[in-house]
């Protein structure tokens, strides 16, 4: 990193003094001012949605609002005829969907799990830092609650948050029984790390690959279960019985290029977040499929969305090298002592502040020209990673954070010796579908779990609470279904029809189609054989410039 020579020498010059310094602290007023002026949620790139359950109630990022006001991918004359009959249909192959599937094992119910990508290709698998559980000697679910509630700005649904915190110990036991190996001390107790905003160490981890460890175990267990997995099956629309109860879904089989209609007595939406919508052109840490599909599907069925204006910009996304831009550098590395330092070698914020405050502070440094310019026309702030070994001993960074080392070594950057450049990355959808303590949505027949839901984390999630969320609420939704399984109902597109009618009532309709399934940037197109002769899609809306369907390509794989 020859181009950053000057700034690097400033950073090195202050290192010794910084090592023993106390971090700068903001009081509540300063923190709120910082958020107001520099956090992307407050930039005003948001608007109301004019149709559906949140019509003129609550803000949405512009990109998401456009998708909510868009027409379905389904042809107008599509007539659902059942291809697959199942008791429970799970949409989503990440941690929440897999946890739900495992909790349905042995229930005697038939379970299908449909995922747009492959089982496990998700945000879960990319989670690095860990999972919170109040296992420390002086810890309790109440302390966990208080931390998450303050961190979430008190916008959390207290009932949901209590459920989350009271189930952490049980979840760790469940993961252990499945065979997850989390880091332990020599005496066999779990290693607990601090996280941003935790009042005492509460984060369990598997190195900096915690999500990978959990997801690959859940995936292996699902593959050994009786759940039928439908990979490369994207959910295009939910089906209802004509009187407000969800009764199945229409899937698009990407490999075969056709539509699949599933009749289900219960549907669980576990489709995750929407970081790949890249609001305000932020980079993202999210996987390919994170474009908010589940929000769109549930919204058309009448589910209210809560806190949908709130997203988490993870403070330490990679800013250099270009190939790694947006990828996460775990918060644990800061909790172990890596400091956040500007171009002048000055520490300007407490690294363990709540994520939104830290992200806003970094954005401010860069906006006020105290960031480091990269040769690829980006700017970032130093994360002084060599401090880990200086404070904890030679080799600790490599042992505890092999993932960071592995990724950067390829670019001749050794984070044990050189600092790395970071800038906030679009990381987590704080809000989402409103659910109750058992994962039920407002619509009969429809449950939801994981990042697609809102309320648990308020408007800012703490590190380690999402891996907990998916495993707790995925399983709770499954248990709830077993105790309250609706009867099988007919499959119709009545809700969609109603939604389409309401779309016609608004002016300047979006020209997009949703759910979008893949980032527009990826250019992946829907091309499938039609079951029935189709009229012009969207003819009711007068939109003709974006064909939604391409003729089947005989050479497509």
């Amino acid at each position: 990193m020859e181009w950053a020579k000057d700034s690097l020498s400033k950073l090195e010059a202050t290192r010794e003094v910084r090592l023993c310094s106390e971090p700068p602290e903001f009081d509540t007023y300063e923190a709120e001012k910082l958020l107001d002026e520099y956090h992307p949620d407050y930039f005003g790139s948001q608007r109301n949605v004019r149709v559906g359950p949140n019509a003129d109630n609550g803000k949405f990022p512009n990109e998401l609002a456009d998708l909510l006001e868009s027409d379905s991918q389904l042809p107008f004359d599509f007539d659902p005829t059942v291809d697959i009959e199942t008791d429970v249909l799970i949409l989503g192959g990440g941690g929440a969907g897999a946890s739900a599937a495992l909790a349905l094992e042995g229930s005697g119910l038939t379970v299908h799990l449909a995922t747009k990508l492959r089982l496990g290709d998700s945000n879960t698998i990319m989670a690095e830092g860990g999972i919170q559980a109040s296992l420390g000697v002086d810890d309790s679910p109440r302390k966990h609650f208080a931390d998450a509630y303050v961190g979430g700005h008190g916008n959390n649904d207290p009932d949901l948050l209590r459920v989350l915190c009271e189930n952490s110990a049980d979840t760790i036991r469940w993961l252990g029984q499945l065979g997850c190996i989390l880091d332990t001390n020599e005496d066999g107790t779990f290693q607990l790390r601090p996280g941003g905003g935790t009042s005492l160490p509460r984060v369990l981890a598997c190195k900096d690959y915690t999500g990978l460890e959990i997801m690959r175990v859940l995936k292996d267990a699902v593959l050994l279960s009786s759940t039928k997995t439908l990979e490369n099956h994207a959910a295009l629309e939910l089906l209802d019985d004509g009187s407000g109860q969800v009764s199945g879904a229409v899937l698009w089989d990407r490999s075969r290029g056709n539509l699949v209609t599933v009749s289900a007595r219960a549907v669980i939406i576990a489709t995750g977040g929407s970081g790949q919508l890249r609001f305000q052109e932020f980079p993202t840490s999210n996987h390919l499929g994170a474009v908010g599909d589940g929000l769109i599907l549930a919204y058309r069925q009448g589910c209210k969305l809560v806190d949908s204006d709130s997203y988490q910009y993870h403070p330490s996304g990679t800013a250099y090298p270009e190939a790694l831009v947006g990828q996460l550098v775990t918060e644990s590395i800061r909790s172990m002592g890596a400091q956040v330092v500007n171009a002048e070698g000055r520490r300007f914020v407490n690294e363990m502040a709540f994520r939104d405050v830290l992200a806003a502070a970094i954005i401010r440094e860069v906006a006020e020209k105290r960031g480091v310019q990269t040769p690829t026309d980006r700017a970032g702030i130093w994360l002084d990673t060599p401090l880990i070994d200086l404070q904890n001993g030679e080799g600790v960074l490599r042992r505890k954070f092999p993932g960071i080392i592995h990724r950067f070594e390829r670019y001749n950057i050794n984070p044990a010796k050189q600092p790395i450049l970071i800038y906030p990355t679009l990381h987590y959808q704080n809000g989402g579908i409103q659910i109750d303590r058992d994962g039920r949505t407002e619509v009969r027949g429809l449950w939801a779990a994981g990042e697609v839901t809102g309320g648990i984390h308020g408007t800012n999630r703490l590190m380690g609470n999402s891996l907990l969320d998916i495993t707790v609420f995925g399983r709770r939704a499954a248990m709830s279904i077993q105790s309250d399984l609706p009867e099988r109902r007919p499959v119709t597109l009545t809700s969609l029809k109603g939604y389409r009618e309401s779309l016609q009532s608004i002016s300047s309709q979006s020209r997009l189609l949703s759910p979008q399934l893949f980032p527009t940037k990826a250019g992946m197109k829907i091309a499938f054989e039609r079951k029935t002769a189709m009229k012009q899609p969207n003819e009711g809306l007068g939109v003709t410039d974006q064909p939604s369907f391409e003729p089947p390509d005989p050479f497509a794989k």
Binding site: V137, S140, L178, G179, S199, L288, G289
Partner: protein, 220 residues
């Protein structure tokens, strides 16, 4: 901006210097050419083989972790998932051999180690599986992303990543847990604390939570 030309599955595309093969495909509107998942190097979907600009075979890689280089050629190399075997409590080398009998077919060619995008010493670990050093095997496979390339390149049908998973799950599920804390008895004090945290209007709740996380006690 500096651009380079690469070929993916025989199709030439222009890419921005410094970006990965996956992002180059996205920008070219050709994302479907390579199966993609997390775009962060951990799901193992985007396995490819790479030819260097000079034409020589460079080996396997993950397209989402592979920066573009002028003249490089990329070939999709998707790996289907293999049948998995249920873990067993208190695993031994013999139990592993019973679960995956092909273990002993390994001829120590080392292809698996070369193919691994996570730099796991795969072949050495297979030898450790044979000799029953399963704790070390579990450690070796901590960073395994289950891309399956080690199995794909093995001419003898050995399935190192599947065995690594079996060993890890078997050991993990046999571990004693710290159950005292896990079975925390909800005391009367706990109920009082919940009442304190959940009571009152939203301002009260926030103040109580702020106070409680500092002192860990109810203050009236």
């Amino acid at each position: 901006m500096e651009t380079v030309e690469i070929k993916v599955a025989g199709k030439a595309i222009q890419a921005r210097a410094g970006e990965t093969v996956i992002h180059a495909l996205w920008n070219a509107g050709m994302a479907e050419l390579i199966e993609t998942g997390c775009v962060g190097g951990v799901c193992g979907a985007c396995t490819v083989t790479v030819r260097s600009p000079g034409g020589q075979m460079r080996g396997t890689d993950l397209a989402c972790m592979c920066p573009v280089e002028e003249g490089m050629e990329i070939f999709p190399c998707p790996v289907d998932s293999a049948l998995t075997v249920a873990p067993e409590p208190n695993p031994t080398g013999e139990k592993l051999r019973a679960a995956y009998p092909k273990l002993d077919r390994c001829t120590k060619c080392g292809s698996c180690t070369t193919a691994c995008p996570m730099s796991i010493p795969v072949m050495d670990s297979v030898l450790r599986m044979r000799s029953g050093e399963l704790d070390k095997v579990a450690e070796d496979f901590t960073t395994c992303i289950h891309c399956g390339l080690c199995r794909f390149v093995c001419e003898d049908g050995v399935q190192p990543h599947m065995m690594g998973m079996w060993v890890r799950r078997s050991i993990g599920s046999s571990m004693e847990q710290d159950n005292d804390k896990i079975l925390e008895q909800e005391s009367q004090q706990a109920e009082l604390e919940w009442e304190y945290l959940l009571g009152g209007n939203s301002t009260d709740k926030m103040n109580h939570a702020r106070q409680f996380r500092k002192s860990g006690k109810i203050e009236s």
